[in-house]
């Protein structure tokens, strides 16, 4: 039985080698409101025509990891099949009063806060089951947040590929150079997930780094 299983596995490896198709499970990480779900929507819609999750200006809109399998990206002459995990925003603190500042009622804010804590735990659990990460940072914000430092450190410790996405380049205050200065050891692609600016550069980088 194990011989048959081994032959099947070898056959799958040969098929992949002949057709040059690679597969990777990548997680989209970052602090709340960095544009992770906007980016996930953009990638999945560009290559499979499906929308994955809702977006909002209120932090922690995504409170459950959203997984989309089998997204095939063709860029720069190579092809890669991605299983994309759009994770909830990582944070070290969650205060329901912050949501009330966005106009949510107290009960709704408390429910959102509880779900957000569960979402952070889920995002952390996913770190153990990925082949690489797209770390999305808001180019208008200080890149030295502890969430960014911790995610970068974990990827380095696990020796997994990491691609930093400097998002929101369409905004006047965007300063992706600060991100480059903060994490010079990692590749960075500057984009606007909302408008699609430079998105082809990101696909080339994805094919190169995760392929």
């Amino acid at each position: 039985m194990s011989v048959i299983r081994s032959l099947k596995m070898n056959f799958a490896v040969w098929i992949k080698w002949i057709f040059g198709k690679k597969r990777a499970r990548i997680g989209i990480y970052g602090p709340p409101n960095a544009g992770k779900t906007t980016l996930a929507n953009r990638i999945v819609k560009d290559w499979s025509g499906i929308e994955t999750g809702g977006i909002s200006h209120i932090p922690h809109e995504t409170r459950r990891a959203m997984r989309t399998d089998g997204v095939i990206i063709n860029a720069n002459g190579s092809s890669i099949e991605l299983d994309i995990v759009d994770t909830p925003g990582m944070a070290t603190k969650i205060d329901f009063r912050e949501f009330m500042a966005y106009g949510l009622e107290e009960e709704e804010a408390k429910r959102r806060a509880k779900e957000a804590t569960e979402g952070v735990i889920e995002a952390i659990k996913w770190l153990e089951n990925l082949d690489g990460i797209l770390l999305v940072m808001d180019s208008t914000e200080d890149p030295y947040t502890q969430v960014n430092v911790t995610v970068v450190g974990n990827m380095e410790a696990r020796k997994l590929p990491l691609l930093i996405v400097a998002n929101k380049m369409d905004l006047p205050k965007a300063a992706p150079s600060r991100i480059k200065a903060a994490f010079p050891q990692h590749p960075i692609v500057t984009i606007s997930a909302l408008e699609g600016s430079n998105i082809d550069d990101l696909y080339v980088a994805i094919a190169r780094h995760f392929g």
Partner: protein, 115 residues
């Protein structure tokens, strides 16, 4: 404010460090670690913090450190040591410790007393 020496941290397991930090921070203390946490310990601390959040009592932590230095040498590789050098870290209750500014060379924080 509690300053915890590198010697003490070296003698503790990851879970002991996280438990110690969280118990102090939940009591309202600011904790300064002479030798910080590894990336794996940091992410575990965040995970444990999420489980400890209580709506009107504890909203989480503020933690600030610099990226770890990777000083792996040939000898470390042979001995199976990681070569990761952790950095000084400050941790406090989110409602009392607030980061004003952080750059490559300096972390400026504001501490509120008697919240």
């Amino acid at each position: 404010m509690d300053l915890i020496s590198a010697e003490r941290l070296e003698s503790m397991s990851s879970m002991e460090k996280i438990r110690l930090i969280l118990s102090k921070v939940k009591r309202g203390n600011i904790v300064v670690l002479e030798m910080g946490l590894t990336p794996e310990e940091e992410v575990k601390l965040i995970e444990m913090t999420m489980t400890e959040i209580r709506l009107d009592e504890f909203s989480g932590i503020e933690i600030e450190s610099y990226p770890v230095k990777n000083e792996s040498t040939f000898l470390n590789k042979i001995l199976g040591k990681s070569g990761i050098k952790t950095r000084m870290t400050v941790i406090g209750p989110a409602n009392q410790l607030r980061t004003i500014e952080k750059d490559k060379y300096q972390i400026s924080t504001k501490v509120s007393v008697g919240d």
